[in-house]
Subunit: 166 residues, 4 copies
């Protein structure tokens, strides 16, 4: 089963700049994470962009959508910052059909010892293999369909939108 | 969706004994791993035993089987050493029905920086939610049904048994 | 030999805030680092402040100086941000006598897997035991007397000020 | 100030073998540790042997002694297993003169997240620069002259031999 990972940046890939003392993006850690997980899947890894999701634009979302459509694979994981992951999921849900797309990210950069990134990546790569076509967000063990999920920014947790309010 | 994790030991939970210089079992690391993954699932965690899977006995497998049957949850992850994970999966497949059971483990102890454990745990907890009832092994991103998987001990990799030879 | 560690913040102790995505100070990691190093020294640990050294004020330096003077111990390690460590060393050198004071810090926060903090802490705690009274900066294996050291901000490295230019 | 590190193996450098589930020696981690510590010292690194110190022989100790004598540097750190570090220190003390030699090691392999190795390496590289000629053991923040130190094997701690019993 062939899979693709589309990398867009987000907390996942933030690095510490020793000179400025600030967080920034250099290269993605996804390759290193796959090695650590000794991942045995056939995977294409493609960097679409490297941005903080607070700076994700409409044009950026269109680029991710285009990458999903053009991918020869029917199962795609998208790494993405958590702040606007829900909005990107909505754009993908409206524009992709016949494919299983799972967005994931991390609450803490992978470069920090205390990151949830490796757990989330293992989770997203599993849901994407097992779920029916559709767009989903997989974070911290849970998986939500696009349109039914929001980020609770005061708790830093993704949660289901109650049915009556959708 | 309520889940249960049954802990049986294995490489996952091996510790380094500073006094003897040998690997041994103390407490499970699963709780710490769930915290690191910021896991938001409703989970019961139950330690059935703490053994190296090379020392897993028939009686031990019956204890795991009994724990699977007695669990009120219909979705169960079993942490297990990799050397005899396949044998335990076969015993569970013969004795459990109507539940989804996913066995997982690690090639390198979690206490080592270079462990695949967190990736595998995220993966197993995802497959167990998404797959139909049955018994499976989830390792290194892949998932195999019981009876169709073997450990390639020279490569240290789980692989599918080709259909014609089953 | 009784020692004291004075904590003032700096990169050493920066944490990642999961909600805001920014670096901030919470508690010091020095206690955890000493446990990791299995440090067997008699140590008093005292938090003087928790600040980024770019925000260290003259009043802050006086507080560190006062803590050095008031300490019953004759050997003191001060953790400090690297950006203005040199300035603080100069203030201490002018105001402390008869004690060995070693300032240290980190180029990368301890909470990052890739931090030099543990190495530097082991180094500072050793130089402080072995050196004659005076004020020193110990970073990345090297040790410089106050007044003879500068931070090369383009390389992110501490270096000796050539003798003729002091 | 030119320094040399002589590598002899020990817990420091133990690795986990994914296939056999046992600890073994492959390559030294000292280079990686120096990079992590962003060590700015002029260092020659030389692997003399890679053995568990329980298997260190008289011939092995003579090889370490010869390497200390032949080294052009007057300041040498020796990495060594803790179980027989004291015996090797005695051999070096009897055979090396005019040089500062510091033995160090780790209670837990560096490849484990919980290792004291980086702290000890930072410490040893500092003591070796600051101390007078002689042979020393630096572990867990403390430093002992050869002949005045023993390993308390029930506690896993190095301690001074009381003066009257030497």
């Amino acid at each position: 089963m062939a899979l693709r990972i589309l990398i867009t940046g987000g907390t996942f890939d933030k690095e510490y700049d020793e000179l400025s003392g600030r967080l920034f993006f250099k290269d993605t850690h996804v390759g290193e994470m796959l090695r650590l997980g000794r991942c045995r899947l056939e995977l294409a890894v493609q960097t679409v962009m490297m941005v903080d999701s607070l700076e994700m634009t409409a044009a950026g979302r269109q680029a991710i959508l285009a990458a999903c459509r053009q991918a020869p694979e029917a199962r795609i994981v998208v790494t993405h910052g958590t702040d606007t992951m829900v909005e990107t999921a909505d754009v993908l849900a409206a524009g992709v059909s016949g494919k299983t797309v799972v967005l994931t990210g991390a609450m803490v950069p992978y470069a920090f010892g205390s990151s949830d990134g490796l757990f989330n990546l293992g989770s997203a790569l599993s849901f994407v293999q097992a779920l029916q076509p559709g767009v989903y967000i997989a974070m911290n063990g849970r998986c939500f369909p696009a349109g039914r999920v929001r980020k609770n920014t005061s708790l830093g947790v993704f949660e289901e939108i109650p049915a009556e309010t959708v």
